[in-house]
């Protein structure tokens, strides 16, 4: 294993210290229990949004803390859910009196830990709502599994709900909006190589030089099938095809198209993928009203990408365009 770390067991703590050193103008980083909050938290009268999950997906979630997006992020160990004491402390740090939304990716550990935190916070009189994101169509037969995983739509939901909270929407309104975004978005990913968890020291899964994992999860969970490596054109056809099979779009619909890098894929390849996606959607008379291209939800040093489509209406478009000032996403602010 070659990594730019010191001791594997120190990597997450040292990462957080680095974030604190680099971005003290935007966020405060708390240790023991660890969480990241926007520098002006708590914001009085505003619904606070708290997310979190295992580390190794940077910039998600800590990189999305700031004005117009998240109020707090709770980082767990690499690929492992954070714990309820972190979530409760973060909740107390950002609660501005208008309630707190937990925006949670559908992974067994994340859901159970946030549920425990919600119980503890409600015991303290904090109004908490929890929305679980599950947009990954890579999971088939989701009735007989832990359900679809939460992937790319999480980034979009954090941005859109963050904008709504900034505008003063109520907790039920922001939670309902979050459910709308989740219901209107689908994603699927592909891995070309596995990532390596620092504490494990070897790749999570083995792929042959000529193999790819179609429908992979962001921790290297297997997806629909292991296939032979193919052209960007063919891979986009498979990924976008699966997304469109599950998210019926009509001619003239407008979408946000999100091409996300898994950590070790060059931006050059992400633009090749975006170009194929643009052509595919144009052929179907689906308009890309907004787009996002880059590595926003990564899997350590996994190579590959995911495609997320979100059906847009005027409200979602306006909330997407609203100002955001975080280390991971920034415009209009």
């Amino acid at each position: 294993m070659k990594k730019l770390i010191n001791l594997p067991q120190d990597a997450v703590r040292e990462e957080l210290e680095g974030i604190a050193a680099a971005h003290s103008d935007r966020v405060r980083v708390h240790a023991d229990p660890s969480y990241i909050v926007r520098v002006d938290a708590p914001v009085r009268g505003k619904v606070a949004i708290v997310s979190g999950g295992g580390s190794g997906h940077e910039p998600m979630h800590g990189g999305f803390v700031g004005r117009g997006m998240l109020d707090a992020a709770c980082p767990g160990e690499v690929f492992s859910s954070p714990t309820p004491d972190q979530m409760l402390a973060a909740t107390q740090a950002v609660n501005g009196g208008s309630g707190v939304l937990y925006l949670v990716k559908n992974y067994t550990g994340d859901v159970m830990n946030f549920e425990m935190a919600a119980e503890l916070a409600r015991d303290e009189g904090v109004a908490v709502e929890m929305v679980v994101i599950d947009d990954d169509v890579g999971v088939r037969d989701s009735l007989h599994t832990a359900g679809r995983r939460g992937v790319g739509a999480t980034v979009l939901a954090e941005k859109i709900c963050g904008a709504a909270a900034e505008l003063g929407r109520s907790l039920p309104e922001v939670a309902a909006l979050c459910r709308t975004v989740n219901a209107s978005a689908r994603s699927m990913g592909v891995a070309l190589t596995s990532g390596t968890v620092p504490m494990v020291g070897k790749p999570t899964f083995a792929l042959g030089d000529d193999e790819i994992e179609i429908g992979v999860g962001i921790h290297g969970e297997p997806g629909r099938e292991r296939a032979k490596a193919a052209s960007a054109h063919d891979i986009v056809g498979v990924l976008a095809g699966a997304v469109l099979d599950d998210l019926p779009l009509s001619r003239g619909d407008r979408v946000l198209a999100f091409v996300n890098g898994m950590g070790a894929t060059p931006l050059m390849e992400l633009y090749v993928v975006y170009n194929e996606l643009h052509k595919l959607l144009t052929d179907r008379a689906i308009g890309i009203a907004r787009n996002l291209v880059g590595s926003y939800m990564t899997s350590l040093d996994m190579a590959g990408c995911s495609i997320t489509l979100l059906r847009l209406d005027e409200e979602l478009t306006a909330l997407w365009d609203a100002p955001v000032l975080t280390t991971g996403l920034r415009w209009g602010a």
């Binding site: 714990t83 067994t108 550990g109 830990n113 088939r140 832990a146 921790h219 297997p222």
Partner: protein, 224 residues
């Protein structure tokens, strides 16, 4: 041999469990790498070491109290240090056992069986899992049933604990053939069959260390 579970016995249990998890860390992680995310051994070692530190701090401070507070301390420590799915599940196991044990300072076999039963019911509710889903419940539920029937037929605490380990081991081994329906392993579908569940394995280790320790400490006479 004691016929009641005492607080010192529970502390000895946690010490033995931490040592066993540390010894089996790589094995648990390998099982998890096959069908999960390769962190079960690492996470359980971190959590059980934190429990040890917490209990040693507590005994140094001369903290007494019943079994309930002791089990709840174990549960809260696991919840806040293990992470992943195992943290809330093992944490809930001990928190629910603590609630059931209450202020008792000793538990007879029947009371201990009821305490573990309450803990496992908590795990079942937290994880929304059913027997046969290829989870830790597949080791824990048979162990609880074995303890309860041992209590009903008047076996000694030691014999009952040994019987529960055998039942847990059988349940754990049976997870090999199962297709996972909960947790990350469920994403493998049919590909999850042929692998032993890591959570059921750590649960078996928990019961195995219970059998090694809980009847060892002399706690005086039995109380209901």
């Amino acid at each position: 041999m004691s016929e009641a579970v005492s607080a010192p016995a529970v502390v000895a249990w946690m010490r033995a469990f931490a040592a066993t998890v540390a010894r089996e860390r790589e094995y648990l992680t390998e099982l998890d790498a096959a069908i999960g995310d390769a962190d079960h051994g690492i996470n359980m070692e971190r959590g059980t070491q934190a429990v040890l530190a917490k209990l040693e701090g507590a005994s140094a401070a001369g903290a007494a109290g019943g079994l309930g507070p002791l089990l709840k301390t174990v549960g809260m420590t696991l919840v806040s240090t293990v992470g992943g799915a195992a943290g809330p599940l093992y944490g809930t196991l001990f928190l629910a056992m603590g609630t059931a044990a209450g202020e008792a300072t000793e538990l007879s076999l029947a009371a201990w069986a009821a305490t573990l039963d309450a803990g496992v019911a908590g795990v079942r509710a937290r994880g929304k899992a059913e027997p046969g889903d290829k989870t830790m419940l597949d080791a824990l539920l048979p162990a609880v049933e074995a303890l309860k029937s041992a209590a009903a037929s008047g076996l000694s605490l030691e014999a009952a604990l040994q019987g529960s380990v055998a039942a847990a081991e059988q349940g754990m081994t049976a997870t090999v053939a199962l297709v996972a329906r909960k947790g990350r392993a469920s994403y493998l579908g049919e590909r999850s069959a042929g692998h032993q569940d890591p959570g059921a394995t750590s649960s078996w280790l928990l019961l195995q260390t219970a059998a090694e320790t809980l009847a060892e400490q002399e706690g005086g006479g039995t109380t209901p």
